[in-house]
Structure formats: C-alpha cells, structure tokens
Symmetry: C2
Subunit: 455 residues, 2 copies
Amino acid sequence: MNDRSSIRQTATDVTQTLARYLVAARFEDLPAAPREEAARSLLNWMGVAVGGSRHEAVEIALAAVAPFSGPAQATVFGRTERLDIMHAALLNGISSHVFDFDDTDLTTAVHPSAPVVPVLLALAEYREVTGRDFVNAMILGIEAACRVARAVTPTMQAVGWHATGVAGVFGAAVAAGKLLGLDETRMCHAIGLAATQPVGIREMFGSMTKSFHPGRAAQNGMLAALLAEKGYTSSLKGIEAPRGWANVLSTTRDFQVITEGLGTHYEISRNSYKPFACGLVVHPVIDGCIQLRDENKLTAEMIDRIDLAVHPIVLELTANRTPRTGLEGKFSVYYAAAIGIVAGRAGEAQFGEALVRDPVVTGLRDRVETTVDPSLGQDQARVNIKLKDGRVLGRFVEHAVGSVENPMTDARLAAKFIELAEGILPDDRVHRLMTLCRDVERLDDAGDIARAAAG
Amino acid sequence: MNDRSSIRQTATDVTQTLARYLVAARFEDLPAAPREEAARSLLNWMGVAVGGSRHEAVEIALAAVAPFSGPAQATVFGRTERLDIMHAALLNGISSHVFDFDDTDLTTAVHPSAPVVPVLLALAEYREVTGRDFVNAMILGIEAACRVARAVTPTMQAVGWHATGVAGVFGAAVAAGKLLGLDETRMCHAIGLAATQPVGIREMFGSMTKSFHPGRAAQNGMLAALLAEKGYTSSLKGIEAPRGWANVLSTTRDFQVITEGLGTHYEISRNSYKPFACGLVVHPVIDGCIQLRDENKLTAEMIDRIDLAVHPIVLELTANRTPRTGLEGKFSVYYAAAIGIVAGRAGEAQFGEALVRDPVVTGLRDRVETTVDPSLGQDQARVNIKLKDGRVLGRFVEHAVGSVENPMTDARLAAKFIELAEGILPDDRVHRLMTLCRDVERLDDAGDIARAAAG
C-alpha cells in the first residue's frame, strides 16, 4: 500500500501528558527569562499587527467578513472597526503576518505569536484577564505550537504544509483553553479539535493567503477551545493516534520532543525577531552592509562594487537581479545589499515601489556580485566593499542581528515598533501601547493593551 | 528524502479548467436526471438535518458559537435560532451528518450534500436565489467535491483524511462561488482558499467532531468564496501545484478525473441514500432480514437462529456482539439483524438505548451467527433463518436497498423524511417542506425552503 500506514508510529498519552501540564502550569512557576521574552514577543507582534493593518489583504478580508460579524467585542488593531472575538482574531492574525516581519521559531519556521496573540487579546477584551494569566497562556500556547511542530520538523514542511498554520492552531487552542480554564479532558478535546483543522499549504506562499493561514489558525484554535469548553468531544489522542495529526500530516514524527522537559525549558526563550522586513536568509548581508555604511559614512556614490559571500540558500531563494516590485525586492539579495547602504535600514518602507525603481538604488544594486560559500552558516555572510578611492572594507557577519545568538536589543525592538506604528496610531498612543506591552505581566486588565491598539 | 517530493506529480491548468467549466455551466444545459437527483438529494439531506437538529452535538456547538454570531440571517433547521450565514452553515452541516444517515458518494466515501447544501440554503436566505440557480450551484458543488476526491481516492482516505471534510470544502466553495457569480479567476482563488483549509482527520470518527467536519467544511468553503469575491488572492493552481492540495494530502493523484467529461456526466447521478441509520456495510443484512420478516410475518419468538454470510469488511467494522449503547448498536451486525426482525426498520429511533437493552432484541441478537464469504460484494449478503418449527427461510441480497443498483424509491425517501422530521416540525410543515424540496427547481425563491425548515 502506498498509504504510509506501514510507517505509522504512535506513542502513549502524548496529548494527555501535554494537556495535563498545560492545565496545571501557573504563572508563579515561570522563570524570569520566558516572561521577559513574552513581553518582547508581544511588543514585536503588536508592532507588525498595527503596521500591517492597512494592507490590502486586511482591507479585503474585513470587507468580506464584516457583514457576518457578531457583536463588537474586540478591536481590529490599528483600525476603528470592532468585530466579534473570532473575527477579530482572524483579522489581527492576517495583519500581523502580512509583512512577513513577525517573530520566528528558527527550528520549525513557526511564526509563534501570529496564531496565539490575537486569540489572547480578543479574549482579554471579552472576559477580564490579568496580565499574569495573559503571559502564562501566551507562553503555553507558544510552547504547544512549537513542540508539536518540532515533532514533525522538517518532514511536515517538506510535505508542503505551512507550519505556522498547521501547528499554530494548537497554540491558539491551548492559549484560549488556558484562559477559559479548561480541565484536562476538555483541553484534550480542544487539542483534538485543533488537530482536525490544520490550515495552510505552501502553494499559497506569495499570495494573500499566506497571511490568512495564521489568522484562520487563530480563529480555528479559538473555536476549538470554545467548543471544548461547552463539552464538544473529539479525541484524547488527537496528536499521536495512528490517524491523528502527526501521522496524517507528516511521514516522520518524534513524539518525545512534545513532552520531554515540560516546564523546565521554554520554547519562547528561543524566539527571534526580524530587524529587516524580508526573508531571514538575506539578513546577514543587510546587517553587514549597514554596519560598514554606518562606520564609514558610506554613500552609494563612493562605492565601486560590493562582493558578497553567502550561504547557498541565499541564491536559491533571492537570486532576483532586477526586482520590479517591493515584494520582488524582498527576494533579491542584490537589492537588499543596495538598500542597506542607501537607506541604512530595511523596514517595510524600504521595500516600497519607489525605492525599488530609484536610480541610485538600482545603480548600486547592479554593482553587487555574489559568491556561494558552503562553509558559511545561514546567519552568516561576508561583505567586501571596494570604494572608488581604492580602499576595500570588509566585514564578516558571524551571527546576523535578530538571530538567537545575536538577538534584537530592547532598543532595536522599540525602534522597530515605533517605525511600524507611527502614522497609524497617534504618537502618544504609540508610546503608551509600547509601555503596556512591556509591562503586560503587571497589568490588572490585559484588555487595556487591545483597547490601546485601536486606530 | 522521506518527504514524498520524489513522487510529486502535477498537471496543467486543472484548477483553471475546472473553474472555467463551473463559471460557464448553466441550469439550461442540465439533463433531467441530475436535476431530479438534486431534488432527491435535497429532500434526503433536509430530513437528516431536521432530524439531527436536537442532537447533543448541535446543542453544544450552538451554545458555543451563539455569543459570537452575526445578524440573524439564516435558519438553523429544525430549531428556532437564527444565525449569520456562516454559523448557520456550520450548525446545519453538523446536524445533517450527526446521525451518519446522509447521502454518500460510494466511490469516494464523500457525503456530498453535507458540506454543500447548508451553504446554498444560507445564501438563499441572505440574497435572492431562484430554484434554478440553486439546483445548478448544488450540482456543480457536488461535482467539484466528488471529482477532486476521486483524483486522490483511495490513497487520501488511507493516509487518514476524512474525505467529506477535506474534499467537501471544495464543494462548499464552488457552490457559494457560483451563487455569488464569481468570474474564472476569482473562482480559482476561491478553490485555492478551499484547498488551504482541509478539515478532518479520521481519528475523530466516533466523536462529535466527525459531524463537525462537514459543518466546518461548509463554513470554510463559504468564507473562501466570500473572500475571493472581494479580491482576496490565493493561487490559480491550488489543486495541482507541486505543493498544492492533491500533492500535500495524498501520495497518489489522477488529475484527469477532475476535468474529463465535465458537463457530459454528473457525479450527483451516482449519489446514494441510506435507508438505515448505520454504516453501509450492514445494510445488506438488515435489508435481507426485513424482507424475510415482512414476507413471513416473523417475530423474534419464532426464530431459532439466524445465519449470516457477509463480506469480510462487515466483521472488521461491526463485530461487536454485545453493544451497550445506541452508537455501539450501529457497529454490531448482530444487533442490526435482530432489530431488522423485531422492528422491521432501522431508522435513528431503532438505535436508541431502550431497544439496545430490550431483552427480546438481545435474546435474538445472541442467536445470530456470522460467516465471512469473500466472494460476496460489499452490498451483498446471504441471510438464513431457521425457525423453531423447523422451516428454513433464505434470502440472497444481490444489491442492498440504497445502493446505486437498487436505489431508494421516491416513496422510501419520503417515508424516511417524514420519520426524521415528524415530532420536530408540525405535520403540515413536514409536508410543505417535502413539497418545496421536490419542487426546488420551480421555486422563484429557494430561501422558502430554508424558512420552512425553521423549528
């Protein structure tokens, strides 16, 4: 039989062991590190959600669902509309992923906040939720999504699934289930209802539907928890059963990573944030170019040529020499290097149509050359800039900014947030929202964050 | 690589060819046979939806989603509640599948009406839809769901997917997209948005989540069409791309069956309806027992023993000798034979707790013996009843009632409808609703059907 049944594997009580931990886990038991990372993840997530809130994909989705929305229970961030909590989670999930600028679990390629945080913020507007409960549920949701994804990485992604949608739905269900106070059996049923609603095939990358995936995963997971809360039944073995999630979606699975060391280390501690609004693979090049620019006050006119040595995947994914749109610019290492020099930054604004066609930028872009060096890591690059005055400037980027080894500082996260939110929210609110995110665990009412993010 | 990429297959323009046909297809071009089958399918579907409307799964789902529902746009059949069209589609999809008594495409195991009809009826209450447009969209939705499922049958089911949810979502998207008047490109995007939202893993069989699958597939497909209508983009190759639906969900695929002969034969013509409220595999046994009972006026007391010769799958799925609940009774060929004799029917009422424990029924059940005969077809059985007076009555069931070769007559469909709907709807409305379903293509406003099904 060509049905993979011969290689089905199962394990005992994966779902129940996970659920038991999730139900019992308390804020009081959390070390400082994951709590601090939760506040950083929340800040980063809110920035990209507000920043993405005017994107065409969000406008269209809102126009499509608004006639069917329930009561105005929750905020669509960066906007004036309010929707029922499930539709708000959908919309906020879309806007937070639409720039491809949200956080990343580098092991699994799950963007962990996008399916989880919209659920929590919507529920925090609907029921009273303390900052402590919010942080606990956020950490646990991310824990579940990343662990379940790791059990099937990299095979599930290779099969063609978008990890953020198909594993993220567990994060949403768990986060919602934790806030709803589900017991162990109901948490299992919520996980099962999540398991049966995976969202996202990779064919959709490059279209609006990519950002639909975390949005719908958020909504599906929330529905799963709401159904389980009322007594809807699914399975106590949704993850590990012979025809459960892991066996159906993947051809390999390592169930142990789902349950080992629960409560002793936290997935959120390995979360990473993008400094640049494009694929991670070109981040080392941009980082190196910006460093040399800032240290030497470089302008495009001073430069004769730029030579880049890069990891092989860079040219597999971003070899476009002549991008014509902002989106194409995100997939051009040549454009990325040039924009690093010309703009000294690479936020969403630097991937707009005007700069992509700017003659200074395109002129420099055409003086960039690349060499593949398989000895380099994915977060490494070598940048050599030959100046017209004969000097040669070199920089080896060992770990690009934003990688786990070289994380974004709080100051850089704040600058990223401000850049994304300003112009959409009034200035005083940008700062108030930033403070609320940082102070989340000290809030009496986490719904304050959501209300402050209204446009 | 263990990622199946080596065996990926694709084909040219499957999604676009299908979409082009769907957009152009007119009611006027439909032969009489599929139109008549659409009316029969609608009648059968409405009966099981009304009949299932008081099931615990429906009560729970309604309690869970009601606080988040939008305006009262559409009827929950058999009930007084009205919800927005997407939630109404979810609930009506659940109630129509919860008895496992709805229609079946025997080739793919897709229950074709459950994800499609709730979408159409909800839209018919929200926008004006003529009976002709309704029938056309229903036939096309079922066409798409069954063809896409056939392309990956039986491998996709063996992988562990519930065909009704993961292929049914295409039916829902297409049916909605047709009523919304999508052009070819938008129909492709709707199909792509459906492709990325498959619902249902087989682990959920036996729990309430099985009936959630067609309900959520209906809702997902409707959302797909509504998003595409407003311009949300997905892919023009959602079905056939290397990381599209067919390659991600299955390990084999035959794309030709999706596009060959479109408009010359109709999937709905092969639709089948269950006379008995249990798995199809025990239908031949029940049919034979009821025939012998009616012809010989048998009672349990007259019978010494019953010997059944059955297809091997019967004992794989329904070998439970001592069922204790109604649901277990549906998975017991011994109970099925006994109930056929004692009740002379096997509707939902005959799988209730009281009859399962009734001493006359259990006494007869314990006098049933089975033999596997691999030469029999799945719709065949041999029933031999030895009476206490020494006589032996035999019956070979060549094609069980409800099979494609021996379809339910209109009279049997009507009787099934009445049995399911009476007690839930007032008697005069049972008959009015039956008439509306039969006359669907002559209605000026197909929404009349939905309104007549309110409880």
